[in-house]
Amino acid sequence: MSSNHKRLSMGGRIDREQPVEFTFDGRKLIGYRGDTLASALLANGVTLVGRSFKYHRPRGIFSAGPEEPNALVTLATAGRRQPNLPATTLELADGMVAESQNRWPSLAFDVQSANGLLAPFLSAGFYYKTFMGPTRRAWMFYEHFIRKAAGLGRADTDLDSDRYDISHAFADVAIIGGGPAGLSAARAAAAAGARVALIEQDFLLGGQLLAEPSDSAAAAWLRQAEAELESSEPVTLMKRTTAFGIYDGNVIGLVEQCDPGNPLLAGEARQTFTMLRVRSIVFATGAIERPMVFSNNDRPGVMLASAARTYLNRFAVLPGKKIIVGTGNDGAWRAAFDLADAGAEVTIADVRAAPPTALATEAGRLGVMVRVATRVVDVRRGHAVRRATLNGPDGQSEAACDLVCVSGGWSPTVHLTSHLGVKPEYRDDIGGFVPGAFAADRFGAGSMMGIYSTTDAIEDGHRAGTAAASFCGKSAPVPAPSKLDLGETATVPFREIPSLGRGKAFVDFQMDVTTGDIELAHREGYESVEHLKRYTTLGMGTEQGKTSNFAALAAMAALRNATIPETGATTFRPPYTPVAIGALAGRAIGHHFKPIRRTPMHDWHMANGAEMLEVGLWMRPYFYRQSGLDVNDAYVAEMRNVRQAAGLMDISTLGKIDVQGPDAAIFLDRIYANGFAKLPVGRARYGVMLRDDGIVFDDGTTTRLAENRFFMTTSTAKAADVLSRLEFLLDTAWPDLRVTVTSVSDEWAAMSVAGPKSRAILSAAFPALDVSDAALAHMGLLESEWQGRALRILRLSYSGERAYEIYVGATAGQQLWSRLLEAGGPLDLKPYGVEALGALRVEKGHVAGPEIDGRTTLDDLGLGRMAGKRAGFVGDLLRRRPAFQAPDRQRLVGLECIEEGKRLRGGAILFLPGEKPYGHGRGRVTSVTFSPERGHYVGLALLAGDVASEGSEVVAVYPMKAETVRARIVSPVFLDPQGERLHG
């Protein structure tokens, strides 16, 4: 067979000068620029393109657009696989490698088409019954086989090697759909003065006009409209772009395919996901032709009439030579005439008894045979149709054919309008659903509103475009649209009647749902559309039942003896067509998945053996590899060094807030549970904030820099929340307080020097500063400069040792860090990481994130005395509610492991000795560490107050590792209860 033997020598919108090479299932084929994969396959006589989802039935090309349920292929090139792509929307590209799906070992000979024999097993409700009934166990056994047999294309398990971009766009008016209505709307809106984005999923503008002959008046109209829009400055033409979802705030999700004619350069995006924000939207999304339901209507060689006309006139492919056109409306006759004109032998089988005489006359002129009151009831043969059975006034007869074109009428494309909850409404006069009432900024135009004649659609688009622009305040005078009359006659709806053939009659081709399945669903009581859909999986395929929806409704309505509106309409949800996850992610993958925050000393950590840990967005040193073999080794060594000499810790991640204003002290008094008004200038204080409900919110240290100025630190994790909360209170609750709060977190590098030798190290590092205890007492502040940058030294301790927090202008952070290590080297100053930091505070009994977990109160944490008898601070009243005082309320205790060689684990559940370890227990271990001081594991825990007597035992159960450990309840302060080391 010669290549392109079904291609006509003339006509079409393909470029015969630009051949395009591609392969399908390993076969090298040639198409032309302007082809889709589907049109190129048809031109080459390839009719068998895939196998169906459940029954592995042979399938061909059914449509010429995104509604394609059958011809789904996988593109597989150079280590990448994109499954389930409709061949009908794939713009043919040089080197395209396409594969058919769901077949083994080959497309023509598929072992599992025997699945047809298992059909009863795979019928509607199969999944429901199997999961819920007594056959649940059987499912376990069969699942593997069934999953392997039923399915679509296989996804790739490797990383997606393609690039994707995300972009943001803005316009006044978005027009979705570039058919006659959309083009006319774009022209009108632009003339009115609006910025217009015209979105078209195809690589050509024109919509249904592309199905008209390329030398027709329609083609001339299209050329003129396109030229006009291309030269119109406020119009952005977005071809190859699908509007897949409409979101709140008039945000439209778009995916643009790259032009296969321009090969991608390295790093260029294959698809671009655009969030388009507009002020008004015109939906000109067109309509989708419906199939007819008869036996074996899914066979290759059965095709929508409009698709056959598109293949003929747009792609110059004559898909059949002996064609039967089954229909009940006038539109399909136009396809029949064009096909006959191109040389095919055509028979029309119209279900109507008396089609319009004008059509019959034209049929006679073109030699098209017409059989009225006749319908197709069956087709024969597996891989391509050979015969069709027609049922007419004289009974059944068979007719030879190689193509059966069908048209069950048209369904307006109401998917996008449904996305924001506009319910489709049934219109009896057109026999289809149109969108219900729109919001003021939304407009519909053309066949998606049930306006099927081109003349009217152009008028309607003009009206909608003008109105949409006017909604944006753009009302310049708009010249009348240029007219186009294709002489279409009204599409009269006809009611689908149940199949008369014997074989399976498909409603949803992609999901293999038959009329039999719908009958079964009806028999078993799943009559509502939403139940029908779930029970049969109708419309759940990748094309969301674009062709099947109406036929299914009609079938169910017939079974229920109800009208279609009584039967209901399903809800469509985004995406309109499948979207690659990669496109939504754009470049935010791998390393760029989320931002990374680095401290000013980050490079030093990296260069000096730090094992880093992600803490929220921050990268922090976890431990330093030179401290030990692994984290457990290292943190204990780092702890010991802090307790015996001194350690240096990067604490730049702390939240830092500058609080200023005449009422700053009053403000702090209200937001902290403990008082700040009397804090002297130059002194720091540890403070705890509560939420309004009385639960502890965050803790930190605040220093009074001046009468009306404070420097607040927050925990790393809560930095953003605290600032936002302070702003909230100032903006909404206390606008009378003259206070401003400003984040200065990134302005300061911060480091802590902790340990008995810390003062000596400071003296060495800052020879010009007086850091004696007289000049810098515990909780004192020293302000100065270092290398021309602001310097603040606070004498604070988190570890329980004498310690200093040093803040310096961020750009000098790394320099000062190095300087401290240099000066402290002879005194054994070594850096330590967050694991040692956590261990040091546990040993000292300080609470942190694991204890301040959004469930604990001041009293729970043993901090009740901080508030004392104060009143009027945030959370005061509700912290005192009776439930928080219950005797079994879980309170902070210390635990020490009393079993030799065993350890405590954070998250362990606490039980009393002898108690059955079941349920939530009496409490939980929150933080643990090995204590070098004590020589065993110690931990902090929250334990029911009525059983938490010091000295008694509990059992810590850790089911994840099947561990049970005995522990003794002790004071949470394991080290230096008198706090003498602070001054050591």
């Binding site: 979101y247 709140d248 705030g249 008039n250 945000v251 969030m275 924000r277 924001l420 909850g421 919001a439 009422d663 009053i666 209200r670 309004d692 409900d693 953003a720 936002s724 702003e727 909230f728 100032l730 903006d731 909404t732 609750a733 206390w734 606008p735 009378d736 307080l737 003259r738 009143a871 009027g872 601070f873 945030v874 009243l877 509700l878 005192r880 509610r881």
Partner: protein, 98 residues
């Protein structure tokens, strides 16, 4: 995506904002000693199907707290005001604290 017309910065996507809860409840004075008043403020919500006043903060922007009137049925935003202006209007005569 919601788009909120910030009085300072103009129309912006909701991911520049932080949601701050119901703005129709009245916060008791900071020293209000009535636990019931605090209980109602913290826990009692009307949850209307329709217009709802709520706090949003323009965190990636001017950082102002806003009061947004949003229809919970269709996310249409009826008004956006600076919370500070509204709260100042509510208690205009309050004496500055000593």
């Amino acid at each position: 995506m919601l788009r909120i017309e910030c009085p300072c910065c103009g129309l912006r996507d909701h991911d520049e904002f932080r949601y701050g809860g119901d703005a129709s409840v009245t916060r008791p004075a900071h020293d209000d000693p009535d636990p019931e008043a605090w209980y109602r403020y913290v826990y009692v919500r009307a949850n209307p199907a329709g217009l709802h006043r709520e706090f949003w903060q323009h965190v990636i922007g001017c950082r102002q707290w806003l009061v947004v009137e949003r229809d919970t049925r269709n996310h249409a935003i009826a008004s956006v005001e600076l919370a500070r202006q509204l709260s100042a209007r509510k208690s205009p005569a309050r004496k500055p604290p000593a």
